[in-house]
C-alpha cells in the first residue's frame, strides 16, 4: 500500500472530534472547575483547594478508595481468568457451543437487575436459605448473617464477576471467530500440545490484543460502578463511586464541590487500577516468555480443564438462577420467608406494565437503534478512513473517545447539561441521542477497532489489485468479513444505550421517557416485584439485539464453512 500521509486529518476523524470535543470538554469543565472551588451559580467564584480539603476530611475516605480499587481490580482479574481458563480448555467443543448460548440473556440483564436477583439468591432471607429452611437448618426466621454488604466487598466482587464474565466471554468468542484459529489448534495438536497448552501458547498470543481493550473497559467500569455497589457493596463505608453520587445529590448544594473533587479522586483510582493491570500484564509477559517457548506439551490438563468448566458453569448457573428469580418476582404479590415460591401471584401487574410501558419501550428502541447505528457507522467510517491513510491509532483521539468512560458520569453530566441548555437543545430527542452517543461511541470503538485492525490485509490488497474501488472494498470485502463483529458491536452499543439512565434523564429533562428512566425511578422505591418487572422490560431490547447478532451470521454464512464459528 502506498503510504499516502495527509497532514490534515480525515473527515470522519474531524467529525468525531467535533462531535465529542464539545461534550467532553463541557463535561470535563463541569467536573474540574467545581473540584477547584469554581461554581459561580452557587456563589463560588474563586479557585481554591477547599473542596479537596473537605474531601480528605470525609471519614473513611481512604478505605472507600481502596474498596473501589480492590473490588474492581480483583473482580476484573477473576473474570478474565475464568473466561480464559474456560476458553483454553473448551474452545471448539460442543460444551463450549452449548454454554455460549446462555450469553445473550446474561449480557442483556441490566447490571442493577442482575445485582437484585443475586442479592435475593444469597441473602439470609433469600432463595438458597429458604431452600434449606427450616427442614435442614432449623431456621424459622432468617439468620442474622452478614452476607450482603460485607465490609470487605466480597459479595460486590462476586456480583461484578458474575456480570463481567459474560461480557469478556462475548469478546473472547468474537476474537476466536477469526479465520485460521482452527489451524492453530490443529498445529498444536499435531505437535502433541495439550488443548490448554495450545490455547495459552499459540492461540492466546494471537487473540489477546483483541480482548485487551475490553478488559481495560471492564476495569474502568468495575472500579467506578454505582448501582451494583449500592445493592451488594459495603456501606460502612461504601466504595468511592456511590459516595460521590451521595454528595452530588446532597440537598446541601455546596457538597457538589466535594463530589467534584471526589470525581477526580475516582479518576485517579481507576487510572491506578488500569496502571496496575498494565504492569501485571507486562510482568506476566516477561515471566511467561520463557515458558511459552519451553516446549512443554502439558498433555495432562484434565483437572485444569474441568476446574475452568466448573467455574464457568457456576457463574452461568448463578446468573440464570438470579434471572429466573427476577422473573418469579415480577409475577409475585407476596413472597415471604421461608416460602420457596410466591404465596400469592399477580399477573395483572405484568399485563398492566406492558401496556403502560409500551410508549417508553418504543422510545427506548428508537434511541437504541439510532444511537447504535450511528455509533457503529461512525466507527466503521473512522476505521476505514484511518486505515486507508495508514494511521491506525491516534492517541489524542482515543483519549477524547474514552474520557467519558473514565470520569464519573454524574459530575460530567452537569457540564454536559449546561452545554445542551446553552445550545437550546435540552429536552429534545436529538439532544438525548447526542448525549448517549458520547457514552455509546467508546464501546463501539472498543468492540470493533481490534477486529478491524486484525483483518488480514491480503484480502483488501487482492481486491485493490483487481481494481476495486475503496467503497467497493469496504462494502464487498471488509464488511462481509467483519459481519459478526459489526453485529456484535451494534448489539453491545444498543445495550449500552438502553442502560443510560442519568444522561437520558438529565439531558432529556424528563421529556424523553425510556424504560430505564422508568425502572430506575420505580426501583428507588425498593418494591421488588415492580423492580423485577421493569428489569425484564429493560432486558427485552438488548436480548433481541444479541440474539439477532448471533442469528444473522449463522443464517448468512450457512453455506460458508470458513466463516462459521469454531467447532470441534
Amino acid at each position: 500500500m502506498t503510504g499516502r500521509r495527509h497532514s490534515f486529518p480525515e473527515i470522519p476523524t474531524l467529525l468525531v472530534a467535533l462531535l465529542l470535543a464539545g461534550p467532553v470538554l463541557a463535561g470535563l469543565a463541569g467536573t474540574v472547575l467545581p473540584a477547584f472551588g469554581y461554581l459561580p451559580v452557587l456563589g463560588y467564584d474563586r479557585i481554591s483547594l477547599e473542596p479537596f480539603r473537605e474531601l480528605l476530611a470525609a471519614p473513611g475516605l481512604a478505605r472507600s478508595a481502596l474498596l473501589s480499587f480492590g473490588t474492581g481490580l480483583v473482580a476484573s482479574l477473576l473474570s478474565l481468568a475464568i473466561v480464559l481458563v474456560f476458553a483454553a480448555g473448551w474452545a471448539g467443543t460442543a460444551t463450549f457451543q452449548r454454554l455460549s448460548r446462555f450469553l445473550s440473556p446474561l449480557l442483556s440483564v441490566p447490571h442493577a437487575a442482575a445485582a437484585i436477583g443475586l442479592a435475593f439468591l444469597i441473602a439470609p432471607s433469600g432463595f438458597l436459605v429458604r431452600a434449606l429452611s427450616p427442614w435442614a437448618t432449623g431456621w424459622t426466621r432468617p439468620p442474622d448473617l452478614l452476607i450482603l454488604n460485607d465490609p470487605l466487598g466480597l459479595s460486590l466482587t462476586f456480583g461484578l464477576v458474575a456480570k463481567e464474565v459474560p461480557f469478556l466471554f462475548l469478546m473472547t468468542l468474537a476474537a476466536l471467530s477469526r479465520p485460521h484459529i482452527r489451524d492453530f489448534y490443529r498445529a498444536g495438536a499435531s505437535l502433541g500440545y495439550g488443548r490448554m497448552a495450545t490455547f495459552f501458547k499459540i492461540v492466546l498470543p494471537q487473540i489477546y490484543p483483541l480482548i485487551r481493550l475490553p478488559v481495560l473497559a471492564v476495569i474502568a467500569y468495575a472500579t467506578s460502578v454505582v448501582d451494583v455497589a449500592v445493592i451488594l457493596g459495603p456501606t460502612t463505608p461504601a466504595p468511592l463511586a456511590p459516595r460521590l453520587v451521595g454528595w452530588m445529590s446532597d440537598p446541601d448544594l455546596s457538597r457538589r464541590l466535594t463530589a467534584s473533587a471526589g470525581a477526580l479522586l475516582q479518576l485517579g483510582v481507576t487510572s491506578a487500577a488500569l496502571l496496575v493491570y498494565l504492569i501485571l500484564e507486562r510482568l506476566a509477559l516477561s515471566g511467561l516468555r520463557g515458558r511459552l517457548a519451553s516446549g512443554h506439551r502439558h498433555r495432562h490438563d484434565g483437572a485444569a480443564r474441568h476446574a475452568g468448566l466448573a467455574l464457568m458453569v457456576a457463574v452461568i448457573t448463578v446468573m440464570m438462577l438470579s434471572l429466573l428469580l427476577l422473573g418469579l418476582w415480577s409475577m409475585a404479590r407476596s413472597w415471604w420467608f421461608p416460602a420457596l415460591l410466591p404465596q400469592r401471584w399477580d399477573l395483572m401487574r405484568l399485563a398492566d406494565t406492558f401496556t403502560m410501558g409500551a410508549p417508553a419501550l418504543w422510545a427506548t428502541l428508537a434511541l437504541a437503534v439510532t444511537t447504535a447505528g450511528l455509533a457503529t457507522a461512525l466507527t466503521l467510517w473512522l476505521l476505514d478512513a484511518r486505515s486507508h491513510n495508514n494511521r491506525p491509532s491516534g492517541r489524542r483521539l482515543k483519549a477524547l473517545v474514552f474520557l467519558p468512560l473514565l470520569l464519573p458520569q454524574i459530575g460530567f453530566l452537569f457540564g454536559l447539561q449546561m452545554l445542551f441548555l446553552l445550545a437550546g437543545m435540552s429536552g429534545s430527542f436529538p439532544a438525548v441521542l447526542l448525549a448517549q452517543l458520547v457514552f455509546v461511541f467508546p464501546y463501539a470503538v472498543l468492540s470493533l477497532s481490534d477486529s478491524w485492525a486484525r483483518l488480514d490485509p491480503r484480502y483488501t490488497k487482492a481486491a485493490a489489485s483487481i481494481g476495486a474501488s475503496r467503497a467497493r472494498i469496504f462494502w464487498q470485502v471488509r464488511l462481509p468479513l467483519l459481519l459478526r463483529p459489526v453485529l456484535t458491536t451494534l448489539a453491545v452499543a444498543a445495550a449500552v444505550s438502553v442502560g443510560q439512565y442519568l444522561p437520558t434523564l438529565m439531558i432529556g429533562a424528563g421529556r424523553i421517557v425510556t424504560v430505564t428512566t422508568e425502572s430506575v425511578a420505580l426501583a428507588s422505591g425498593g418494591n421488588r416485584p415492580v423492580a423485577a418487572l421493569y428489569a425484564l422490560l429493560q432486558l427485552l431490547i438488548p436480548l433481541t439485539g444479541f440474539v439477532l447478532a448471533a442469528l444473522i451470521p449463522a443464517v448468512l454464512y450457512r453455506n460458508r464453512a470458513a466463516m462459521r464459528l469454531e467447532r470441534g
Binding site: S125, R141, S426, A509, G510, G526
Partner: protein
C-alpha cells in the same frame, strides 16, 4: 417608645385583617384573579417532577392529572425521578446558563432540606402564590403548623402543602405481642432480641429521621433545635442521642455493619421476619402495603409515648417555569377535599390530609368521615402529638456525626 410603636402596628394589623364573615361570602374560586389564572392555564402542559418509586402514588398522580385535564384543560405529565436532587440539579443548571423562562420543570414534589436549599439559592417562584390558591382556605394552618413552616423554614407561600407525614412504627402482631412504647423499651427489646432491629443508614431520609426522633426526645433544651446548628453546642446537645445509639449499636441487625437502605427495604425485612420493627413516614403505609400484598395482614402500627416527628410535604414551582398558571391549578386541585380524601384512602395511597377536616362544609366533611382506614392504621387521635423537625441545618450535622461514629469503622 419602640414598644408602643410595635403595639400600634399590631393593632393596625388586626384591623386590616378581613373579618371571618366576609371571607366566607366571596368564594375565592370565583374571584377575578383566580379566573384569570384558570384562563391562562387552559392548554398549558405542566411537567410535574416527582419521586416515582411507589406505584400507588404514581397511579394517584395519574388520576389527578386526568381530572385537571378534563376539568381545566391543563395537561400534567408526571416525570418520575429517583431522587429530587436531580431536579434541583436541572433547575440549578438552567439558572447557571441564565435561562430565566421556559424551564424544564414546572412543579416539584419537595420538602425540608431540598426546599431550604432551593429557597436560599433563589430557584423558586415568587413568594405567596400558594396562599392565593382557592383551596388554601381549607388548609389547617392553625393545628398543623408544618403546613406553613417546613423544617422550621417559613414557606412564605413558595410551596403548597400536599400531605402530612408522621413517623410511625410497624410490627408484626403474629410475632410480637406488645410493641415497645418508649425509646427505652425499644432499646430493651433490641438488647433482648439482638439482630432484629435497625434503622435505614443515614443520610437516608428515614434513618436521619430516626436520629432526629431520638434527639428530640432526649435533648434538654428543645428550643435550641429550632435554631441553626451553628448557634448551638452540638456536642452537648447530642450527647444523650449518641449515648443511646452507642448502647443500641451492638444489638443492631448485622451488628451495625450493614443497614437497611431505605424504608421499603426495611418493610421487606419486616415481611421476611428479619426485623421485628420497621418504620414509615406515612401512617397509612402499613394498610396500603397489606392491601398490596407487601406486608402480612397481621402487621400493626404504633407510635412512641410523647409523640413522634412529623412534617408536611409540598409542591413548589421553580423560578423559570413558563407554565406557572397550570402548575397553580394542579397544586390547587391537589388541595381539594375530594383529591385529599382519595389520597388518604389506604387502598389508594393512605397519605393524611393537610386540610382542617372539622372546618370543611358538611358534604366534604362526610367524605373524610366515610373513609375506612383499616385495622393497621392508627386513628388521628391515636397518632399522638407531633414533634417538630429541627432546623434543616441539623440534618447535615447529624449525618456527619453519625458517619464519623458508625459509618466508617
Amino acid at each position: 417608645m419602640t414598644r408602643r410603636f410595635a403595639a400600634t402596628l399590631g393593632l393596625l394589623g388586626t384591623l386590616l385583617l378581613p373579618l371571618p364573615g366576609t371571607a366566607q361570602e366571596t368564594d375565592p374560586a370565583t374571584s377575578q384573579e383566580w379566573q384569570s389564572v384558570l384562563e391562562e392555564a387552559r392548554g398549558q402542559t405542566v411537567y410535574f417532577h416527582a419521586w416515582g418509586g411507589e406505584p400507588r402514588i404514581n397511579a394517584y398522580i395519574g388520576w389527578a392529572a386526568r381530572e385537571v385535564e378534563r376539568d381545566f384543560g391543563v395537561r400534567v405529565i408526571h416525570v418520575k425521578v429517583s431522587d429530587t436532587a436531580t431536579v434541583v440539579s436541572q433547575v440549578l443548571a438552567e439558572k447557571s446558563v441564565g435561562k430565566a423562562s421556559g424551564g424544564a420543570v414546572d412543579l416539584i414534589w419537595i420538602n425540608g432540606e431540598n426546599f431550604a436549599a432551593m429557597k436560599e439559592q433563589g430557584l423558586l417562584a415568587e413568594q405567596g402564590w400558594a396562599e392565593t390558591l382557592p383551596n388554601w382556605r381549607y388548609v389547617d394552618v392553625e393545628n398543623k403548623p408544618t403546613v406553613s413552616v417546613d423544617f422550621t423554614v417559613p414557606t412564605d407561600g413558595q410551596e403548597s402543602p400536599w400531605g402530612m407525614a408522621k413517623l410511625v412504627f410497624m410490627y408484626d402482631s403474629a410475632r410480637l405481642d406488645t410493641p415497645p412504647a418508649t425509646l427505652q423499651a425499644l432499646l430493651d427489646h433490641a438488647k433482648a432480641h439482638p439482630g432484629r432491629f435497625s434503622y435505614p443508614q443515614p443520610p437516608n431520609f428515614y434513618g436521619t429521621t430516626f436520629l432526629k426522633q431520638v434527639l428530640v426526645s432526649t435533648v434538654e433544651d428543645k428550643a435550641a433545635l429550632s435554631r441553626p446548628v451553628d448557634d448551638a453546642d452540638f456536642e452537648a446537645l447530642t450527647a444523650p442521642l449518641f449515648a443511646y445509639l452507642d448502647d443500641l449499636h451492638g444489638s443492631l441487625w448485622r451488628q451495625g455493619e450493614a443497614f437497611p437502605q431505605n424504608a421499603s427495604h426495611m418493610r421487606q425485612l419486616l415481611a421476611d421476619g428479619e426485623l421485628d420493627i420497621a418504620f414509615s413516614f406515612n401512617p397509612g403505609d402499613a394498610a396500603g402495603a397489606i392491601a398490596n400484598g407487601e406486608l402480612p395482614p397481621s402487621v400493626r402500627t404504633f407510635v412512641l409515648d410523647g409523640g413522634t416527628i412529623g412534617n408536611t410535604h409540598f409542591v413548589a414551582i421553580p423560578f423559570n417555569s413558563s407554565n406557572k398558571a397550570g402548575a397553580k391549578v394542579f397544586a390547587d386541585f391537589l388541595l381539594t377535599p375530594m383529591a385529599q380524601t382519595r389520597k388518604q384512602d389506604p387502598e389508594i395511597w393512605g397519605d393524611p390530609t393537610v386540610l382542617n377536616v372539622a372546618a370543611l362544609p358538611a358534604n366534604e366533611k362526610a367524605l373524610f368521615e366515610a373513609l375506612d382506614l383499616g385495622p393497621a392504621t392508627l386513628s388521628p387521635e391515636d397518632l399522638g402529638p407531633v414533634l417538630p423537625e429541627p432546623h434543616p441545618s441539623w440534618v447535615a450535622a447529624l449525618e456527619d456525626a453519625w458517619l464519623q461514629r458508625y459509618g466508617a469503622e
